[in-house]
């Protein structure tokens, strides 16, 4: 009898944990560790592909060569040599293109989002133009505006201003029925409703459009340089690729992406500053959708 009792399952102590939340290992390591680990893994695979000569070294440089060249280009940029001048040209194109895209995109967005004329008559044309492959206009801009900076600015602005229109117009429709009715009861004019209600409520949409535009202006400027020459960073990439200097192409692209990141961050900073009340979701924050 006593033996039977002792062989029975040991009585559970209340302080014993029998069931607890399982935390996956990926959630236990800090985020930067997983990011670095992924990068190291990627470089290792790349190096392996290079070592077993899966593809010709002329087409794909080794990671080490690329990193080496990153330092060469970095030194050139820091000493203010020709690459810095090229980067400055492209930066100007991006900034001007972005400003033009924002001004025109906002104006057209308000026209489309606020007036029935805009919604009925202008919107269908905008949709039609937006479906066109916009880079195909590059040769046209070059023949209109020449090989200088103007044709690149035009292409960058042309590609980038559609998301600004969409963001602005969507934002103007974001105010719900309650808010509109409240403004009506206060006897607000159309202008007051626009400025005090619709524009502030639409700010998150507007900034989502700006983030897309920030990335697209870089695309527009570089494509413009590929097709229209000039003295920018895109031209350096084109020349390096023509010389089969692939490590150079890679490192130039990496520096160029920093330019895109910088414009994106400026917009994200402005959004946090001006739309302080809006909590963004992770996808919006990281993808700029």
């Amino acid at each position: 009898m006593t033996q039977a009792q002792s062989t029975a399952a040991a009585p559970l102590m209340p302080e014993q944990t029998v069931w607890s939340e399982h935390v996956s290992w990926i959630d236990r390591v800090p985020r930067w560790v997983s990011m670095v680990a992924l990068m190291v893994g990627f470089l290792a695979v790349w190096q392996l592909v290079y070592l077993i000569e899966l593809v010709s070294p002329i087409i794909l440089p080794s990671p080490l060569e690329t990193i080496e060249d990153l330092f060469v280009v970095g030194r050139n940029l820091l000493t203010g040599d020709y690459m810095l001048k090229a980067l400055w040209v492209t930066t100007q194109e991006v900034l001007l293109g972005f400003i033009i895209a924002v001004v025109f995109g906002f104006a057209l967005g308000v026209l489309v989002g606020e007036t029935s004329f805009g919604e009925r008559a202008v919107m269908p044309y905008l949709v039609a133009i937006n479906t066109m492959p916009k880079v195909a206009f590059a040769p046209l801009f070059v023949s209109w505006l020449g090989f200088g900076i103007a044709s690149k600015v035009a292409l960058a602005a042309f590609i980038a201003f559609f998301p600004v229109i969409v963001g602005t117009a969507a934002g103007l429709h974001a105010a719900d029925q309650n808010a509109r009715m409240l403004f009506k009861t206060m006897g607000a004019s159309r202008w007051q409703t626009l400025v005090q209600l619709k524009l502030p409520i639409g700010m998150p949409h507007f900034f989502a459009g700006l983030k897309n535009a920030a990335v697209l202006t870089v695309v527009g400027a570089v494509v413009g340089e590929f097709l229209g020459g000039g003295k920018g960073f895109g031209e350096l990439i084109r020349v390096a690729a023509a010389q089969l200097d692939t490590p150079r192409v890679f490192s130039l692209i990496i520096y160029l992406s920093l330019l895109g990141l910088a414009t994106f961050w400026v917009v994200a900073w402005a959004q946090r500053r001006f739309v302080f009340w809006h909590k963004e979701t992770v996808t919006e924050e990281t993808l700029g959708q």
Partner: protein
């Protein structure tokens, strides 16, 4: 349409003898597009300092009536007179409140409250009302929250701020469209008692749209029961419970009898 008490005797609480503030005569509304008659010859008189509620099933035209009274929609026929002048659009002597507080997240509580002034009279006039807005925050028990953004307010607190925003223009009448129906039951009872206190303190003329029979009875001097398609008043029931009302009165047999009477009207209407 007789105003009768439960005992069948005509009852005239002090308020019901007051000066008429709102007068609706033969207000009808037909939505031509859908060919629906929402309101059919509604007559209504709201006297100074009284609290009236309108109750009826969904889609009976309550909200349409409220919008017409507020000047947000014109009636198809009939007249709406407020303080001797016909209502021909939104007016500053009408205060409105909705189910949602609709505070704007980029404005502090204080800035939200003076928004109606800012819209009508500009920024300077709105700033001049800050002291009055602070007094209103005191009135609703929100002192200390003036520079807080709405994201930090609970649902009940947001509705109190909305009450302040409604009162800042010193309206002659308050039109309330289910103001606390998005709150939980405990907050709702509490807010209803707060509402009564504010209305008594200011001698406000108030008109409430609600779906809750107990809420209508505990707050009102007169409850109008409305039937749908076309919307019209079936009965106006005078509530002769003494003021100020307390939540304890909900256990009073007179309260139960009034609730029962209203419910029997609504049950008849719902299964037509």
């Amino acid at each position: 349409m007789a105003v009768l008490s439960m005992s069948g005797q005509p009852v005239a609480p002090v308020g019901l003898m007051g000066r008429p503030v709102y007068e609706l005569r033969g207000v009808s509304k037909t939505f031509a597009k859908r060919n629906v008659q929402a309101l059919d010859k509604v007559d209504l008189t709201l006297r100074e300092g009284t609290f009236s509620a309108i109750i009826g099933p969904s889609g009976c035209g309550k909200s349409t009536l409220l919008k017409i009274m507020a000047g947000l929609q014109p009636p198809s026929s009939g007249s709406v007179i407020l303080e001797g002048k016909p209502v021909m659009g939104p007016r500053r002597d009408i205060g409105m409140m909705f189910q949602q507080a609709t505070l704007f997240p980029w404005r502090t509580t204080l800035e939200n409250i003076v928004l109606p002034i800012e819209i009508r009279d500009g920024k300077a006039a709105a700033r001049a009302k800050y002291d009055q807005a602070r007094q209103l925050l005191d009135l609703v028990g929100l002192n200390g929250f003036e520079s807080v953004y709405p994201s930090e307010l609970s649902g009940g607190m947001a509705q109190r701020a909305a009450i302040c925003r409604m009162l800042i223009t010193e309206p002659a009448v308050l039109l309330l469209d289910e103001p606390f129906s998005a709150l939980d039951e405990l907050s709702r009872d509490f807010m209803n008692m707060e509402l009564q206190r504010i209305c008594l303190e200011r001698n406000a003329t108030t008109f409430l749209v609600t779906h809750s029979i107990p809420e209508a009875v505990i707050l009102s001097d007169v409850v109008y029961v409305m039937s749908p398609r076309p919307g019209r008043f079936v009965e106006a029931i005078t509530v002769d419970l003494p003021r100020p009302r307390t939540l304890d009165m909900m256990t009073d047999p007179r309260f139960g009898a009034l609730v029962h009477r209203i419910r029997s009207h609504l049950d008849k209407g719902a299964f037509q």
